[in-house]
């Protein structure tokens, strides 16, 4: 059953060590940006990763790509741990895993034409000659819904949505299997968000892509994902299929997040009871003891501050629904 996992992240950890002192640097604690998380992504699915700002979502994506070296753990891509790869092998695997960045304004070099931008990965991997690259770029521009004639324009001549399309085209240029989408639509207008999301789902079908979709907006993630993991302060607190997560959230943090999603119907919006989480995300330098969510949790008991809950399966129908809470499923609406 596990054979069709394209990517498996096992016990991934990324700690940023803080140092103090000038001459004799000593460790002054660490920021546990990603603390022992595990998840599996099946081929062809979209795996959503949600959480508040600063909970380690982007760090996870960067650690998978080894843009920052993880402290510990395994990232298994098609059965091989890419964290142990030597440089040469890593270089080849980079063709297969691509990333789309959040900010389409900053992720495209202002000094390069979009033709150069999109063909840059081909240039780095030495694929094809000039003619082939141009042909490929034009084809991709067409696929993502831009005019191939604009190949010699600069990024500033495009709107935000168009630039994100350029980013998508660049991610597709090497025929990757897995695309990490690091909040690809959060910098865009809502109407444009929908266009880009639809484009991404169309491309997924056409090229059999697998997405790791990172976002802080649950409604966006629900729209595209098959499975969703909820992160809080460097840990995964709940994993479930997107229907199960929305209909039957088990972790109080997930309930809180879902309750923050606005319903575009004023009547319904008025009637429903909202759970408003109080307080801020605690500092990851000094995370709370036990369950990291307990200072903000409306149903926390004594045990929550003493023991750390494990991620356990609570599903009854054989499907997976993992939650890390001692009181999983207990309603928090008073």
């Amino acid at each position: 059953m596990d054979n069709n996992n394209l990517l498996e992240v096992k016990n991934l950890k990324k700690y940023f060590y803080l140092r103090s002192g000038f001459f004799f640097q000593k460790s002054a604690g660490s920021v546990k940006a990603v603390d022992d998380i595990s998840f599996k992504i099946k081929e062809g699915e979209t795996f959503g990763l949600v959480g508040e700002s600063g909970c380690g979502k982007s760090t996870t994506a960067r650690a998978i790509l080894r843009l920052i070296e993880p402290t510990d753990g395994q990232v298994i891509y098609e059965g091989e741990d890419i964290l142990s790869f030597p440089r040469k092998k890593m270089f080849d695997i980079r063709k297969k895993i691509q990333i789309i960045f959040q900010d389409p304004y900053a992720s495209l070099s202002p000094r390069m034409t979009i033709g150069d931008i999109i063909s840059e990965p081909m240039e780095i991997h030495n694929i094809g000659d000039k003619k082939y690259r141009e042909k490929r770029v034009k084809k991709l521009l067409e696929i993502v819904g831009l005019n191939p004639e604009h190949i010699n324009r600069y990024p500033h001549e495009f709107s935000g949505g168009q630039r994100q399309r350029i980013g998508v085209a660049r991610a597709l240029v090497l025929n990757p299997k897995l695309i990490l989408c690091d909040e690809p639509v959060s910098a865009l207008d809502v109407s444009v968000q929908a266009q880009i999301l639809n484009l991404m789902t169309d491309l997924q079908k056409e090229f059999n892509l697998t997405y790791l979709f990172i976002a802080h907006d649950l409604s966006v993630v629900k729209h595209v994902s098959n499975n969703i993991a909820v992160m809080y302060l460097g840990k995964i607190v709940e994993v479930a299929s997107s229907e199960a997560l929305y209909e039957n959230p088990l972790h109080p943090y997930t309930m809180g997040l879902l309750s923050a999603v606005p319903i575009p119907d004023p009547e319904l919006e008025k009637k429903r009871k909202r759970i408003i989480l109080t307080g801020d995300v605690p500092s990851p330098i000094d995370p709370p003891s036990g369950c990291r969510f307990h200072p903000r949790c409306p149903i926390a008991k004594e045990i929550c501050s003493k023991q750390e809950p494990e991620l356990k399966n609570y599903s009854e129908d054989g499907k997976k629904h993992l939650s890390a809470c001692f009181f999983a499923g207990k309603s928090i609406v008073k």
Partner: protein, 277 residues
């Protein structure tokens, strides 16, 4: 950054002045020697005040001072361009490498830069130049060797901030190797800063060369603005000396001022916070 350079220059009177002066300077240096007399030509017509044949008179060897002035401007420009280029090149190599590689390499390089920053360049160049034959090439190399530190620090700072820009990070996710990122992304993005660094280094080089020549650290058989002024000081008791001192002095001041104005203009274009200042 998409500001029309033309419009900015139109508004900025100082920059306009600077650009015109630099253009005039370049024109004189390039075409002047065709028009003036041979500056090395001795004649018995020495220590003259300005007359019809010699606009600025002649010196103690009977050489035409105006011709020497034109050749002197040429020498200053040569020093400016070559020392400016060399020191910017050194600064760029050290700055981008230590910013980009980081870690221990960066720490060591920055301590070396700090060491160079506290060395008083003038005194050091004087000492070294006194040992070596102080020709114009020696001076260019010495000035470049002692005037790259400030630029290197600024370039390192910029490299550090560029390194984490998304378009450079994304280039790395595609597997780009460090030299590729450096040549393809970081150096082009540094563009404007390199221009400013070049202008300021060129200005400092002109000033240093003239100053050193003025106090006699130069090959006195060659011609430069500093050397003309150095010679003037030897004849301060005769009325001619003022004609040897003031014109090169004005030429020097004008070129330094113009370079400063142009530098400020480009700095303003780079840094939007300075734009209304």
């Amino acid at each position: 950054m998409h500001i029309s350079l033309k419009n900015r220059i139109k508004k900025d009177k100082k920059a306009k002045f600077g650009i015109i002066i630099v253009c005039v300077f370049v024109l004189i240096s390039v075409f002047g020697p065709i028009l003036v007399k041979d500056p090395y030509h001795f004649s018995i017509d020495y220590l003259r005040l300005p007359v019809a044949g010699h606009i600025l008179g002649t010196n103690d060897l009977g050489q035409d001072v105006f011709a020497r002035l034109v050749y002197g401007m040429r020498a200053s420009l040569l020093v400016a361009i070559s020392a400016g280029f060399l020191s910017t090149a050194i600064g760029t190599i050290i700055g981008t490498l230590s910013g980009f590689i980081g870690g221990a390499f960066d720490k060591v390089m920055m301590r070396i830069v700090d060491a160079f920053l506290v060395i008083p360049a003038i005194i050091f160049i004087m000492l070294v130049a006194a040992f070596l034959k102080p020709g114009i090439m020696t001076l260019i190399i010495l000035i470049s060797l002692f005037h790259w530190q400030g630029g290197a620090k600024i370039i390192r700072g910029q490299t550090l901030s560029l390194k984490n820009k998304n378009h450079i990070v994304s280039s790395r996710t595609f597997g780009a190797k460090k030299p590729y990122v450096l040549m393809r992304h970081i150096i082009p993005d540094l563009g404007n800063i390199l221009v400013v660094s070049f202008i300021y280094n060129a200005r400092a080089a002109i000033f240093l060369e003239a100053g050193l020549a003025f106090i006699g650290i130069a090959n006195l058989s060659t011609i430069s603005l500093g050397i003309i002024m150095h010679n003037a000081m030897k004849f301060y008791y005769l009325p001619v000396w003022i004609w040897w001192l003031v014109p090169p002095g004005i030429a020097l001041s004008l070129i330094l001022l113009s370079l400063t104005f142009i530098g400020t203009l480009i700095e303003k274009i780079i840094d939007p916070r300075l734009r209304n200042a």
